[in-house]
């Protein structure tokens, strides 16, 4: 029974998603859901390195943007189908994660964090100077007119994102209860003790940065189709990086469900605030919530709930 719970829940979500595309017509719903799912994948990916392994990545926006620009570069060259774009973006960003990790993770952990922060600036500089993908002024991407059996392309993109999100949650959940996941937790808790217990810490950290990068790249790959106009400023938006840190931190980093809860709550709240109040205020609120949570409730929502349950039990 226990082993079937998660796959059954995933299947239910897919069916619900399909039903949603059949029943709802207002494109706003699909756009809002797409934005939340995109943030969810980013949060889950960030948490694999941040929550499971204990290393901070500030450059989530850069991984995301490189994913989006991988799509753009391929689309400028040929009519590459979406699944291939996603695969290619995951590959490129996984390699970037591996490379940055290899150069900095042999040293103290903070250097990795600083490197990811500076990496965003450099990759943005590169894209700004690369006229093939539009340079600083950006580029328009035509949305294809074929969209399987869906009513519109944005409905199909929503479904693609839903599948990607389920996939990333499944990866993260499997990881957290596996041998690899225990190795990562050991690294997070005490790296020297982990190494002396036979854990190949550098190798595991690199696996972690690579998986994180690949997931973030995959999340960015469909973005050009979603917005149909991409420029470096929007793709490298700091807000993406803040969200992918804030959502796991608010939801709770120690458990795989933390970033999911955080992304769904914060993401939905953001959609509501953006519509009813203003988007700038929304951005500020995320920052404030992030700081409040990490100072006052570092275990996040999932941590608080589990603590409460343990007390009652």
């Amino acid at each position: 029974m226990r082993g079937w719970g998660f796959p059954a829940a995933c299947a239910a979500v897919v069916v619900a998603g399909l039903a949603f595309t059949e029943l709802a017509d207002n494109p706003y719903y699909f756009n809002a859901a797409y934005v939340i799912l995109q943030a969810l994948i980013m949060a889950v990916a960030w948490n694999i390195l941040g929550g499971f392994t204990g290393y901070v990545n500030f450059g989530s926006a850069a991984f995301f943007a490189v994913g989006a620009y991988t799509s753009i570069a391929l689309l400028k060259a040929a009519a590459v189908p979406l699944p291939l774009l996603i695969l290619a973006a995951a590959l490129v960003c996984g390699l970037i994660g591996l490379g940055v990790g290899y150069l900095t993770l042999r040293l103290k952990g903070v250097y990795f964090a600083i490197a990811t922060l500076a990496m965003g600036i450099v990759l943005e500089t590169l894209i700004n100077n690369w006229s093939y993908v539009g340079g600083a002024k950006g580029t328009a991407i035509l949305t294809p007119d074929k969209h399987l059996w869906f009513d519109s392309y944005s409905e199909m993109l929503f479904m693609v994102m839903l599948l990607l999100a389920l996939g990333s949650v499944a990866v993260s959940r499997t990881l957290s209860s596996s041998r690899l996941g225990r190795g990562l937790a050991a690294i997070r808790d005490d790296e020297v003790a982990a190494e002396c217990s036979g854990v190949p810490t550098l190798r595991l950290k690199l696996v972690s940065t690579t998986v994180m990068g690949a997931m973030m790249g995959a999340a960015g790959a469909p973005y050009p189709y979603f917005v149909s106009y991409v420029d470096p400023l929007s793709a490298f938006n700091l807000f993406i990086a803040v969200n992918s840190i804030a959502m796991p931190m608010i939801g709770g980093t120690a458990h795989w469900a933390g970033p999911v809860v955080g992304a769904l709550l914060v993401g939905s709240a953001q959609e509501v605030i953006t519509v009813t109040i203003s988007s700038e205020l929304n951005v500020l609120l995320v920052g404030i919530m992030l700081v409040l949570f990490i100072t006052l409730a570092p275990q996040g929502i999932v941590g608080l709930v589990r603590k409460h349950w343990k007390k009652r039990a």
């Binding site: 190795g183 937790a185 050991a186 005490d190 002396c196 854990v199």
Partner: protein, 240 residues
């Protein structure tokens, strides 16, 4: 019979400070070796070099005849060198049981199904008297249980050589006996043990041979009785 561990000409410096110099040490299979010396004499640095947490600047270290001088710590752990830490370093977010699964799955390479690793972790916990704590968070353990967990985790790596770094510091007399009991039991099962300890009574009871370090050099080596009687050891360490 050749030595299990061979250390030859080992030196370690931190900047201009020489922590270890000209260390030569052979440990025979099945031996119980006591390592003593004043604070700052280089005991912990030496076992850091043996376990790989630090790399020595000079000399070589061989384990079961194989040169391990440049091997990273995780590979030494897989070859069978396990250690406990002076200040316990549990994996705080994991349960006591999962703390043991890490070395079981990585160092002892119990790759088979979950169940087996879990059963074996339980067996190790039982032998340490920690079975009742298996599903607790390791961060909440008492001092003595924390020390036992250090040893249990080292044991779960299936070591040939166990280095115990002050496993009894801060424990009561009865607790010291309890830990000593465990170490004797492990040794009887064929595990070679290097014990670093300040509690001389425990060193005297446990060790077949004692090595005394002072200011980064070995100043004396012999049976416990010989070592205690040695004038240099008296002056440098025992404070007579």
């Amino acid at each position: 019979m050749s030595a299990l561990l061979q250390v030859a000409g080992l030196a370690k410096r931190f900047g201009g400070f020489t922590a270890l110099e000209g260390i030569a040490l052979d440990v025979a299979p099945g031996e119980r070796l006591g390592l003593i010396g004043p604070n700052g004499s280089g005991k912990t640095t030496l076992i850091n070099c043996i376990s790989g947490a630090l790399y020595n600047d000079e000399g070589r270290i061989a384990f079961e005849g194989r040169d391990i001088t440049r091997l990273p710590p995780f590979q030494r752990a897989r070859l069978g060198i396990a250690r406990s830490f002076q200040i316990p370093k549990p994996f705080r977010s994991l349960t006591v049981l999962d703390n043991l699964r890490v070395p079981l799955e990585y160092a002892a390479r119990t790759r088979s199904a979950h169940r087996r690793a879990e059963d074996e972790a339980m067996r190790v916990l039982e032998s340490m008297g920690l079975a009742a704590r298996a599903h607790q968070d390791s961060a909440g353990l008492t001092q003595v249980d924390m020390r036992k967990l250090e040893l249990a985790r080292a044991m779960a790596a299936h070591p040939r050589l166990l280095i115990s770094d002050e496993a009894m510091a801060g424990l009561s007399g009865a607790e010291v006996d309890e830990v000593l009991e465990i170490l004797f039991k492990l040794n009887a099962a064929g595990i070679t043990i290097i014990m670093i300890e300040h509690i001389m009574q425990a060193v005297m009871r446990f060790s077949q041979r004692v090595v005394c370090l002072d200011a980064g050099r070995i100043i004396c080596e012999g049976t416990p009785e010989q070592t205690v009687a040695n004038a240099d050891v008296q002056r440098a360490y025992l404070g007579a």
